[in-house]
Amino acid sequence: MCDQTFLVNVFGSCDKCLKQRALRPVFKKSQQLSYCSICAEIMATDGLHENETLAALKSEAESLKGKLEEERAKLHDVELHQVAERVEALGQFVMKTRRTLKGHGNKVLCMDWCKDKRRMVSSSQDGKVIVWDSFTTNKEHAVTMPCTWVMACAYAPSGCAIACGGLDNKCSVYPLTFDKNENMAAKKKSVAMHTNYLSACSFTNSDMQILTASGDGTCALWDVESGQLLQSFHGHTADVLCLDLAPSETGNTFVSGGCDKKAMVWDMRSGQRVQAFETHESDINSVRYYPSGDAFASGSDDATCRLYDLRADREVAIYSKESILFGASSVDFSLSGRLLFAGYNDYTINVWDVLKGSRVSILFGHENRVSTLRVSPDGTAFCSGSWDHTLRV
């Protein structure tokens, strides 16, 4: 078949119209077929139509985007910091590292707090997932995953289980047991299956459902007990790197951010995208809902963090400085939403005043890039995990 040249005339039945004609080899989606000259002509013009419709779709998409921007611009009557002009400025902040948790053998990639405000789970590149008591710095549980680069971990709302995943393309749930004789790995349950690495996972309000984000460009909602896929969310055109669920009072939505520079808000029940924001200039590494649920912040490789207001449907603030050149890997709000903590790849943590848009403080201490950052559930502290193998509270 591969030896056929265009000069060879084969006589036989056309693959399309099945009539007996002189045939030409024709390539459709990298498959070789034999068409008669009439069908070959038709296919050539179809191809032209195909391109036309593609171009038509592209221009339609562009014009719709333009229209969207116009609608959004109409509401841009005032800047957030102008609204906040009369708010008292924040004084000097002194934040100290109170605890340093050592024990991971390699880069810490992700961490999450337990609702009891003292326990945390963290995962690292070497496949270890550790549950710590942050008050005493004791390690309560440790599991070794069968894969490396465990990029996502989450604590269940009940405090009885943890979920984690990474290069194994799955999200596994481990029930936590205090029985010394039980092997945690034996009770492992594989819940999610993706076709690429797992980048983020989070339990919903109950222990029974998990939301995952993956390098395959999709997010998915799973039932923990049966492992069944309840809903999948398509729309990102590149790896999805992060997700965050809306605070429970405001409803069933979540926001995701990805390598396509877009942040998207989804309805969990219908699987539909509700809003999309495309103002970042590079991969979005982290998204976090504002405590009121009406806005969310994102941290990106373009060295900025941005605040998007969901009801105004636009970006309302950018947190950046010319001196900050490295990407923000992780962001979280303080309890009131006045402060935004962001961990950067230049080993620092910047604290921003959300309303005024100015930087309040820089925290030094880590010896390598800060990969993950979470404020504790009661707001008394925040924990940062870093590639220097430690976590700091």
């Binding site: 195909e50 419709t53 593609l54 779709l57 592209k58 998409a61 719709l64 985007k65 969207l68 959004r72 109409k74 509401l75 841009h76 009557d77 005032v78 800047e79 957030l80 609204v83 906040a84 708010v87 934040m95 109170r98 405000k117 008050f135 395959d216 460009g217 999709t218 398509h234 729309g235 055109t237 590149a238 995208r273 509700v274 809003q275 999309a276 504002y290 405590p291 009121s292 009406d294 806005a295 207001d309 009801r311 105004a312 449907d313 636009r314 309302v316 303080s334 309890l335 009131s336 939403g337 006045r338 402060l339 959300v354 309303l355 009661d378 707001g379 008394t380 502290a381 925040f382 509270v393």
Partner: protein, 69 residues
């Protein structure tokens, strides 16, 4: 998955989605910004990281004998 669909199908989905989004209800920033500010001011009283915690209530304070302030 995003990679499995042809460019044309992806664009079609995008166009459908954008058509829906153009009609989303929106509010001006003067209103929503004010709501964010009000929320913050109301919650700021309870925010430990904002106003600091007295040492005796801080669950993370070091238990050493010597504390340098």
């Amino acid at each position: 998955m995003a990679q499995d669909l042809s460019e044309k199908e992806l664009l079609k989905m995008e166009v459908e989605q954008l058509k829906k989004e153009v009609t989303n209800p929106r509010a001006p920033i003067s209103k929503t910004g004010k709501e964010i500010k009000d929320f913050v001011e109301a919650q700021a009283v309870n925010d430990p990281l904002l106003k600091g915690i007295p040492e005796d209530k801080n669950p993370f304070k070091e238990k050493g004998a010597c504390v340098i302030n």
